[in-house]
Symmetry: C2
Subunit: 340 residues, 2 copies
Amino acid sequence: MARRTHRVTISDVAARAGVSPATVSRALTGSRPMSPELAERVRTAAQELGYRVNLLGRALRQQRSSVMGLVVPDLDNPFFASLAEHLSRVVETSDIELLVASAGDSVETERRMISSFLDRQVDSLVVIPCDEVQSQGGLEEATDHAVTVQLDRRVLETGAYYVGCDNRYGMSLVAGHVRDDVDAEAQPVVFVGAEPRSSSAHERLEEFRRQFPGSRVLLGTFDVRWGQQAADRLLDAGMTRGTLVAAADIIALGLLSRLQARGHRVPDDFRVIGFDGVGVTRLAHPELTTVRQPVEEMSRRILELVGDLPVDGAEQEIRIRPTLVLGPSSPPAARSGRRS
Amino acid sequence: MARRTHRVTISDVAARAGVSPATVSRALTGSRPMSPELAERVRTAAQELGYRVNLLGRALRQQRSSVMGLVVPDLDNPFFASLAEHLSRVVETSDIELLVASAGDSVETERRMISSFLDRQVDSLVVIPCDEVQSQGGLEEATDHAVTVQLDRRVLETGAYYVGCDNRYGMSLVAGHVRDDVDAEAQPVVFVGAEPRSSSAHERLEEFRRQFPGSRVLLGTFDVRWGQQAADRLLDAGMTRGTLVAAADIIALGLLSRLQARGHRVPDDFRVIGFDGVGVTRLAHPELTTVRQPVEEMSRRILELVGDLPVDGAEQEIRIRPTLVLGPSSPPAARSGRRS
DNA sequence: GGTGGCTCGGCAATCGATTTCCGAGAGTGG
DNA sequence: CCACTCTCGGAAATCGATTGCCGAGCCACC
């Protein structure tokens, strides 16, 4: 386990190349044109000494860290992990770097992570807030010190940008599908959602209620376990068939596994519909009908917002329309013969 | 969208409190005892001005950033995401902060991320290497500049620590289970693994071969799609029953979904066994038998390694024994009546 | 040949915090 | 009352890089 014998600084390189630190800086960053042979001499000197730039020093001087921070509620939720991965790949194309921190599903930790990113002088901060209400403080703080974007979940009155999908529209697509393709009268429609502590949960729930007034609604959290519990609850109450609309794929997967474990068939007895449409969806058998969030485009819009040219006329709130992806978990009713 | 009106520095606070910057630093960090009332005066001055420390400045001076970097191959793989989440929660208990970057499954990006973390002066670096061979360069570089730990996947000759689970032992548990509880003679056993480009893939494969010499082996990548393809290949070749040992849960889930989609029953026709045992496992129906990696303990050991007291006699290589978790995807054969 | 413009290297200030060292003042013991 | 110790605040150096400014040298043009 060899360890740094000595720290090589820009002055060491300067000494070796027989020039001043200023010249080394300019040669390595190309911040000012110079004769090619001198530049080359500096580069080899740096190479030979194994010089590596200290980004702390640079950032301190430049007042710019070139870092985008991302705070997610929980990496164990595949949807958030996928957002992180996508954003990471998009940011990759710029000269910014994305660093991710998890809030461990706690508002306090979230706040600490935001603070810490700010203290580290990130240029921009993307936050998927834990809680519609309690995350507000942290976001306001962030907005004062860096370009801040709320992703996926909206918290009002923070002054930050928002990028997310049009949840109401997405849910209306589901409603259309259920009404057109599924025999709605014979089949009770139940919404299995999450307590509206985030705008996504909120909006999906509201739109469902608007579309299916009077329909049954069960609310829990965004995880597999809740889906399983909800399935148990419905089955224990004697339900034997129907359409279950989940507020997220991860809940739908929980529903699916429990329905099947207890001997019910999907889609014959129960139709199941999800929301999000990232990677994991493919895990399910049968594959889920779901609302695919345009993760790619969301990432690109974020990058634009924090981009080099701070578009002053930029929208505060960017909503991107999701698309419905049909899967065998809710096939079109045979007799209607429709295909969308 | 309010933005920093002015940058508050330690000198501003000093001026306001009528003391020197040195005193402010000492008051806020408590690095030297001082009269309580003075400390209080400084604190209120800082509060009133909305002062926040610049960690770049501090780190530059202290030669210590208090950051642990984590480079994962791909956050879309739930196992890696889960490792990140667990490590994050464990590190949370110390005064170190974990920052995560994804390599987007590319050796080049991985190298860039490592470099960038080093340039940012991380104190320690945890890497789940993409490739058993090609990741070596980056890891050597890392070892020269920070305490470096390879996680889950081992690359030889890097000088870095290694923390991971004992894959051979884990696979031998699976073998024992298959031999004891499953009628091995009547049921062909097939390994559905990944090309040995990582030590984990390697070790699991080797141990399987040692335990079941001559058994069929299919190799692909660590993702759902490969599991599905493998299932197709086996079924297309006329297989109708058997025990499928997957090198990872994520592959097992792919197998499961395709087997079921094509009308085969698990566990009646096919037994399926996974490896990893993190969150997503529960998604499956039926629930997977799997080898649970002790993610929690792995995280703790990592923190110890980079801990304040650099244990010089520390093991280079820490292997933690995983445990077998039985699930209905491979129930004990009825007639043997055994329970483990 | 003088002068203006240009190129390009170096000096030194700067970013923001920490920390070493110094010295003033208070307290104590002889 | 002197000498010694102790406490505690401040001046200034320091971490590593970037960059505004200056000036030397060169060229070209009149």
